[in-house]
Symmetry: C2
DNA sequence: AATCGTATTTGGACATGCCTAAAAATACAT
DNA sequence: ATGTATTTTTAGGCATGTCCAAATACGATT
C-alpha cells in the first residue's frame, strides 16, 4: 500500500464514498489538488486491488477492505493530532500538516501505544470522532450553528472548516469546543448571529456559524 | 529533499563520508541493499544539488550542507528511538524499523518538542550519541570489549551490532548499558572471554565481545 | 431525438528511482 | 609493463505517479 493509494482512499472516505455511495473523479481531483486524469489512473489501480468499486464514467466507492483501510488511516491521523496537542503542546491549528505525514507510518504497535498513552481518546482536537482499532466510531449528534433557531442553546462540539485561519479566529474570540452557545438573534439581511457565550454577547457572521458544529441542548 | 536522497546521505555519513573521506559506490550499494548503478545515479544527483562531492570512479563524500542534512536525520532517528523506548515502552530491539520511518517526518517543531519532552537526551537506547540541533555531538571515549586486556574493567556504553538478535541476547543474559564488566580471562584457542558482571561470572564469545563498546575505567 | 456543454477517459509524455547487461576505468598481479 | 580481475559507469528499460491535450461519453435541454 503506497502513500498515494492511502491518500486516495482517505479522500474517497472523506467525500462520503463508503457504503456504495459514488464519488466522482472530479470531486476527488479537486479535493486532492490534482487532475481528473490522474484520478482515473488511480481508480483503475485501486479497483484492480479490490479496494474500490469503479465504474467508468460513474465514479468510485470504497469496498469493504477499502473502507477498513481508510478508517485505519483516519484513526492514525486523528490520534496523532491528539498526541501533538495533548503531549507536545501544539495548538489545534498547526497539527494537520504534521499528522498528514505521521498517518502513513506503518506500525500497528506504535499507534496502539500512542492510543494507550493518550487514554483512548474518542475525539480529535477538532471534535472529529476517532475510529477504534476495529473501525467502529460514533458519529456524534450534531448540527451546524447556522441551522439553529434563535432562542436555542447548543454546546460547541466540532468544526467543519479546519483551516488554520478559522481555528485562529476561534482562539482569538475565545470560542472553544465544549463552550455553551445561546442564539440570541439572527439578522435578516446578512444572516449574522448574535450569540451569548461564556456570559458575553458577541456577533458572528453566517460564514462562521456555518463552520461550527454544536450539539443541541434540550 | 526526497526520502531516497535522505537515506543516501545518512548511509554515506554512517560509512564515514564526512570531512572529505571518500566512500565507494560499492560500499553504499551494499549497505543500502541496492545496486551500484543506482548509487551512481544518485551520486550524480546529490552532487548536482551540492550535497556531496563526487568524482567518477573515486567515490563520494558529504559536502558541508550534506553533512548538516545527514546529521539532522541521524538526530531525528535517534531521538525517535529514545521516544519509543522511554515514552512508549518499546524494547531496544524493536525501535530501529519504526525510527527509519519517523526520521523522515518533516517538522522542526515536532522533533524539537520530542527532544524537550525527553529532557534533551545525549544518547540513544543503543548508546549512540544524539547530535544537537546545530549538529554538535560528542563521540564518547569507547573501545570494543574484545580489545580490552584481562584484569581491566569497563562500563558498557554501547553496541556495534544493533540487530534484534544481538540485543535480545544481551537482554537474556542481563547485560545492559551502564553495567560494569571486568575481564577475568581470555581463552587462547577461541578468544572467548570470562567476565564478571553484576557480581556474576559468565563466559561470552569473541563475537559478542566484538560488538559491545565499553568505556575503560582507570 | 438531436445538440450542447460538462465530466471523464485515453494516449502520450515526464520525473524519480530502481534494475540488468555491457562497456570502461581502475587496481593488482606477475 | 601487460594482462586479468574488480569496481564503476553507461545505456536502455521498467514501475509509479503525475501531467496535458485530444477524444469520448453523459445528461440536460429543447
Amino acid at each position: 500500500m503506497t502513500r498515494a493509494e492511502e491518500n486516495y482512499l482517505k479522500t474517497i472516505f472523506h467525500l462520503g464514498g463508503s457504503s456504495s455511495h459514488l464519488v466522482s473523479t472530479n470531486a476527488i481531483a479537486e479535493q486532492m489538488e490534482t487532475k481528473p486524469s490522474s484520478v482515473t489512473d488511480m481508480a483503475k489501480k485501486l479497483a484492480e486491488k479490490g479496494l474500490v468499486e469503479y465504474t467508468k464514467y460513474q465514479g468510485v466507492s470504497l469496498s469493504k477492505t477499502g473502507l477498513k483501510t481508510a478508517l485505519s488511516i483516519v484513526r492514525k491521523h486523528r490520534l496523532w493530532e491528539v498526541f501533538l496537542v495533548e503531549t507536545l503542546d501544539f495548538s489545534w491549528d498547526e497539527v494537520h500538516e504534521v499528522a498528514e505525514q505521521l498517518e502513513h507510518i506503518k506500525s500497528e504497535k506504535l499507534i496502539d501505544r500512542i492510543d494507550s498513552l493518550l487514554g483512548y481518546p474518542k475525539f480529535d482536537p477538532h471534535g472529529d470522532p476517532i475510529p477504534s482499532k476495529d473501525g467502529v466510531f460514533f458519529e456524534r449528534e450534531q448540527q451546524l450553528l447556522s441551522e439553529m433557531k434563535p432562542g436555542s442553546t447548543g454546546v460547541c462540539v466540532g468544526v467543519k472548516d479546519t483551516s488554520s485561519n478559522f481555528l485562529k479566529f476561534l482562539d482569538k474570540n475565545k470560542i472553544a469546543l465544549g463552550d455553551t452557545i445561546e442564539i440570541v438573534e439572527i439578522e435578516d439581511f446578512d444572516q449574522s448571529l448574535t450569540i451569548t457565550i461564556n456570559g458575553q454577547n458577541m456577533s458572528i457572521s453566517h460564514q462562521i456559524a456555518n463552520n461550527l458544529y454544536v450539539k443541541k441542548q434540550e
